[in-house]
């Protein structure tokens, strides 16, 4: 897997305040990279610097090997992006909007425009003015303009903002398809953790302009430790059974459930032991340590803006 987007010691100072502080990370082709952080952490600023809307105070961004500082036009030709909301020309039709942006890139044919329209499923309404579109349709049109020139990197800033569950799902499916089938790099920013968990391969967490951590989503899924909630009676007896039979695991009673954190392979053994000891099991719930908890751990109490 080649590196498609590479941030190297990127800093941004606005009015003497360091908004982004020495940010470096690489994103590879064919992966969906989530860019996570509380509001005001610098997600949008970073994305604006990658796409050249803001100048870098220090450092450089390389897109497919081309420097954004030195060779902007070459670098940006590999990028398709929606920055925040897809704000298109409302008084133009969807088709005219696409034609407008197609003229600004090299080699976008009429056939390609039709192909993209087909892809995002806007064929029926493409001749209508954008002001008559719903937010979901605008989002689709935004995606269409980002894909016109077959970019290697797709950047979406808060792509699911304001969309209904169906729209969110559509966006997610498109992104997955593009990264799997066309080997496109997708960079998504969001503060919605559950969203990121569902679509990203890796995510970087940013707080106060600094990169706090980069993690792979699959790490969390295959983690050996599992949190289990067991609803059982009598609860005290069950507690003792677990503590005596399975040493080394943490057990506690929360309300009328037992919360256990153990290796996954031990889960059936615990259940079997409880049944054999005549405990009545009403439910066993598998609680994955969610990204949210991880996120809150990492950013520390929800990430205060300082």
């Amino acid at each position: 897997m080649g590196v498609t987007v590479s941030l190297q010691n990127v800093s941004k100072v606005i009015k003497g305040k360091k908004i982004i502080d020495d940010l470096s990370f690489d994103v590879y082709s064919g992966e969906i990279f989530g860019f996570l952080g509380p509001n005001g952490a610098g997600k949008t600023t970073t994305i604006r610097m990658i796409v050249g809307l803001m100048k870098l105070t220090e450092g450089d961004v390389f897109i497919c090997g081309e420097s954004v500082n030195k060779n902007f036009e070459k670098a940006i030709s590999n990028i398709g992006a929606i920055v925040e909301n897809p704000e298109l020309y409302k008084y133009l039709s969807g088709y005219d909007n696409l034609k407008h942006f197609a003229r600004m890139s090299k080699g976008v044919t009429k056939e390609r425009i039709d192909e993209v329209i087909e892809l995002v499923g806007l064929k029926e309404r493409i001749k209508d003015k954008v002001k008559t579109y719903s937010l979901g349709m605008r989002q689709r049109l935004g995606l269409a303009q980002a894909l016109l020139h077959k970019p290697k990197v797709l950047i979406l800033d808060e792509p699911t903002n304001g969309l209904d569950p169906q729209g969110i799902r559509e966006i997610r499916d498109y992104m997955k398809r593009l990264s799997r089938e066309e080997g496109m790099t997708v960079i998504v920013s969001s503060h919605l953790l559950s969203e990121m968990e569902m679509m990203c391969d890796r995510f970087g967490i940013i707080q106060n302009g600094k990169l706090v951590d980069i993690q792979s989503v699959h790490d969390t899924e295959s983690s050996i430790e599992k949190a289990i909630h067991i609803k059982v009676e009598p609860i005290q007896q069950a507690m003792q059974i677990i503590q005596s039979s399975f040493e080394g695991c943490t057990v506690e009673i929360v309300e009328n459930e037992i919360h256990v954190t153990v290796e996954e392979s031990l889960v059936p053994k615990i259940v079997k032991e409880l049944v054999l000891q005549d405990c009545l099991i009403y439910g066993v719930e598998n609680v994955a340590v969610s990204l949210e908890e991880k996120f809150l751990q990492i950013t520390g109490n929800g990430g205060q803006i300082q």
Binding site: I14, R48, V51, G52, L53, M54, K55, F72, E73, K74, I76, S77, I79, A81, I82, V83, E84, N85, P86, E87, L88, Y89, K90, Y91, L92, D96, K99, H100, F101, R103, M104, S105, K106, G142, Q145
Partner: protein, 322 residues
């Protein structure tokens, strides 16, 4: 260029653009009709008598000129008198009646319609003020700038589009005035336009004169439109750009006239140099020392370049936030 085609498309998919064009049509036809129905025909003997009247005036003007010959404060007036005398003598000699002895014709109508250019300025200022600022206020600038096209090219394409639109408006007004003028008043049986240059009288074809008059009067339009473009780019605010530019359009020459009473630097002010037609006819609104066509052109060029430098610096250097 594709970018200009884009700007043109954005311009002509808007209702407001068509309203502007419709206004031009209505104004030209409207003014034409009003002039037509309030027209006073010169009686037969009046058009014969212009010679008698002119001869009387000449005698008076020459006496006047003699009386102020050595008065240094009256230099401007003396020049005007000399010019009038020269032209009048030329008319008598070649039997070319003055325009106020002509029946209304298309050429006189075209000269009347030059005033419409100030009105067109309002439209071109609105377009120039919107073309950059609206991209910012609609947020579309973000999608516009993340293309493999440099910011300079984008701004140039926008400016070219504004200028093309201005040319379209002025051209439309001219052609329409010509057609309306011919239909309502006819060509008339007229002689050439007379200009006074460097002490001699020069004849000029009436059509050439009208076209020259229109294009030179558009210089003000171009300068103010460029200024609106600059303000719009620098402040990203179309109302501010429209406000300032229209204010200066209406008040600029008045202010300049007032300022000229108190200090000399006034000749470096933009508005003192807009009347290029004055250099052609020899009849200046602002007459200052060292004023010449070259001087005014240099001043205008300096302002023009300055406006563009400011616009381009702001557009290429500034970050696009929020």
């Amino acid at each position: 260029m594709n970018l200009v085609a884009n700007e043109w498309m954005k311009l002509f998919k808007r209702v407001s653009t068509y309203i502007m064009l419709a206004f031009v049509v209505i104004i030209v036809i409207g003014v034409g009709s009003i002039i037509k129905y309030s027209e006073v025909k010169y009686s037969e003997d009046a058009s014969v008598n212009w010679e008698v009247q002119m001869k009387e005036n000449l005698v008076f003007s020459k006496q006047e000129l003699e009386s102020i010959k050595d008065d240094k404060d009256m230099a401007t007036y003396r020049e005007t008198l000399e010019r009038n005398i020269a032209i009048d003598e030329y008319r008598l000699e070649h039997n070319i009646p003055p325009s106020d002895a002509e029946d209304k014709n298309v050429w006189l109508f075209l000269n009347d319609m030059v005033g419409v250019i100030d009105f067109l300025s309002i439209f071109t200022i609105i377009v120039a003020a919107g073309i950059v600022a609206n991209e910012f206020s609609n947020g579309t600038i973000k999608l516009l700038l993340i293309r493999p096209v440099s910011r300079v090219k984008i701004l140039v394409s926008k400016y070219i589009s504004v200028m093309l639109f201005s040319a379209l408006l002025v051209g439309l007004a001219f052609i329409l005035s010509f057609i309306v003028g011919v239909l309502l008043f006819g060509f008339g049986d007229v002689g050439p336009e007379l200009l006074y240059r460097d002490g001699t009288v020069v004849e000029m074809n009436r059509l050439t004169y009208a076209m020259l008059y229109f294009s030179l009067s558009s210089v003000g339009l171009i300068m103010l439109t460029t200024m609106a473009f600059m303000i719009s780019t620098a402040f990203r605010n179309s109302s501010l750009a429209i406000g300032i530019s229209i204010f200066l359009l209406l008040m600029g020459s008045t202010f300049t006239a007032l300022l000229s009473l108190v200090f000399d630097g006034v000749k470096y002010i933009l508005f003192a140099n807009l009347d290029l037609m004055g250099y052609i006819t020899g009849n200046q609104v602002f007459d200052f020392d060292g004023g010449s066509l070259t001087f005014s052109l240099v001043i205008l060029a300096v302002y023009f370049v300055l406006f563009h430098i400011i616009a381009f610096l702001f557009f290429t250097k500034r970050d696009v936030a929020a």
